[in-house]
């Protein structure tokens, strides 16, 4: 099945009902996407589907046909959010970090701290107490915002 993965056209074979999470990790070898709860509560497996954050544990592979998928690998370690998470202590054990960064990357520009909190309400972190995460997001946003993960589309 054809779709765009981290900016490259790919053609991957897998059962249409296999979870996108498992296709990414097993068929595509991209293990940056983590499984936390496996029921859409924790956001660890967040990826961008046509620019919007989704829980990849709740997405059947069939639903990404023709779509654009971005995983943490697609940010290539150079996204301002990734740098800021390092310097601001936004990451401790690291399991929530890829999902947290992808969800944060999809927030509209100029959002308040309250809107950041609401936008990330589906991403749970059990280490940091969130302060470092919010600080990192604000730092990344105060810097140049030229590096966006990709153009956002609908659905």
């Amino acid at each position: 099945m054809r779709f765009t993965l981290n900016g490259r056209a790919v053609d991957i074979r897998a059962h249409p009902l296999k979870r996108l999470l498992d296709v990414l990790r097993e068929e595509c070898g991209l293990t940056g996407t983590k499984e936390g709860c496996g029921e859409g509560e924790c956001g660890a497996c967040t990826v961008l589907l046509n620019g919007e954050p989704v829980n990849s544990c709740l997405v059947p592979f069939a639903h990404v046909r023709g779509a654009k998928v971005v995983t943490v690998e697609g940010l290539k370690g150079r996204h301002p959010l990734q740098q800021a998470f390092v310097t601001e202590g936004g990451s401790q054990c690291g399991i929530c970090t890829p999902g947290m960064i992808l969800a944060a990357s999809a927030l509209p520009e100029g959002v308040t701290r309250g809107e950041v909190r609401a936008g990330l309400a589906g991403n749970l972190c059990r280490c940091t107490g969130y302060s470092g995460i919010y600080r990192a997001i604000e730092k990344a946003r105060s810097q140049a915002t030229s590096h966006r993960p990709q153009a956002t589309g609908r659905r």
């Binding site: 059962h15 009902l17 859409g40 967040t46 919007e52 997405v59 059947p60 936008g119 589906g122």
Partner: protein
């Protein structure tokens, strides 16, 4: 880990609504699936009973939100995010936008659909009191044609609906709503929480009040509505309200707590929309 063996599952992927309706009839039993925010929780937990699924996700004609002769038609596949973004929804039914914002998380709002919330038939579905208070109509379609079912007659019991297995919910129709709209969800936190109590109401001359998570299905409370429209003091309406609900103790809350919160919500609605 997904606890359902996917090799035992079959997915039908229709290219049109008509093809979907044909597959529903010819390949029964078939479970339609949309955003999978609930269905895949069951699949992941290994509790999914059905073996043949029908994906509706790519049927874009079912995703439209449009105004026709004053009636707002919301396609069953419209996601919560699409409802939140919709200027039509914001203007005509802000209480639905409020409910959509409190469902799950952004990730869930980007995938979950209003049609899924309706046919899933959970008594805790957050959009259901809104649709009950809005006097919405559901449009069901099969190969034989369409029929319209008033929302208040759609649920026949706990997790039961009057929809036939060969029918598909295609749209929700919202008539013009006169009066101030009000919505409140009470859960353990603002996001990712299943409601302990959820209420939607319209402050019309005859107020319309609907509640979720306090009975086997979403309920309207006609005696309470009648009392308030007749000018009864709020204390009397609160007492009457208790006779119109049947909350239970479950893992999310207790019956006693729900009764008390419902009474408080009624008073707050009345005060805030005065």
């Amino acid at each position: 880990m997904m606890r359902t063996a996917i090799s035992s599952l079959e997915l039908l992927q229709p290219r049109s609504v008509t093809e979907a309706l044909r597959l529903l009839r010819e390949r029964a039993p078939v479970l339609p699936m949309a955003g999978c925010t609930d269905l895949y929780v069951s699949a992941n937990l290994g509790t999914l009973a059905e073996r043949r699924l029908l994906s509706l996700w790519h049927l874009d004609p079912l995703r439209r939100i449009e105004l026709r002769a004053g009636v707002l038609s919301i396609g069953a596949l419209a996601t919560y995010a699409e409802i939140i973004r919709s200027p039509l929804a914001r203007t005509h039914i802000p209480m639905l936008v409020a409910a959509s914002r409190e469902i799950g998380s952004v990730q869930v709002q980007n995938r979950g659909t209003i049609g899924g919330n309706i046919v899933n038939a959970s008594p805790a579905g957050d959009t259901l009191p809104v649709l009950a208070a809005a006097d919405a109509t559901l449009v069901l379609r099969s190969l034989d044609g369409s029929r319209r079912v008033p929302f208040g007659r759609f649920y026949s019991g706990y997790r039961k609906t009057v929809m036939r297995p060969d029918e598909l919910l295609v749209a929700v129709e919202i008539p013009p709503i006169e009066g101030r709209q009000w919505f409140r969800k009470v859960g353990t936190r603002a996001a990712q929480a299943i409601s302990k109590v959820v209420m939607a109401a319209v402050r019309a001359p005859r107020p319309r009040i609907a509640l979720g998570s306090v009975a086997p299905t979403v309920v309207r409370v006609p005696k309470t509505e009648e009392a308030l429209s007749a000018g009864c003091p709020i204390e009397e309406a609160q007492a009457l309200l208790q006779s119109e609900i049947a909350p239970i103790d479950d893992l999310r809350s207790t019956s006693a707590y729900r009764r008390r919160v419902v009474a408080n919500l009624l008073a707050r609605f009345w005060e805030q929309t005065a």
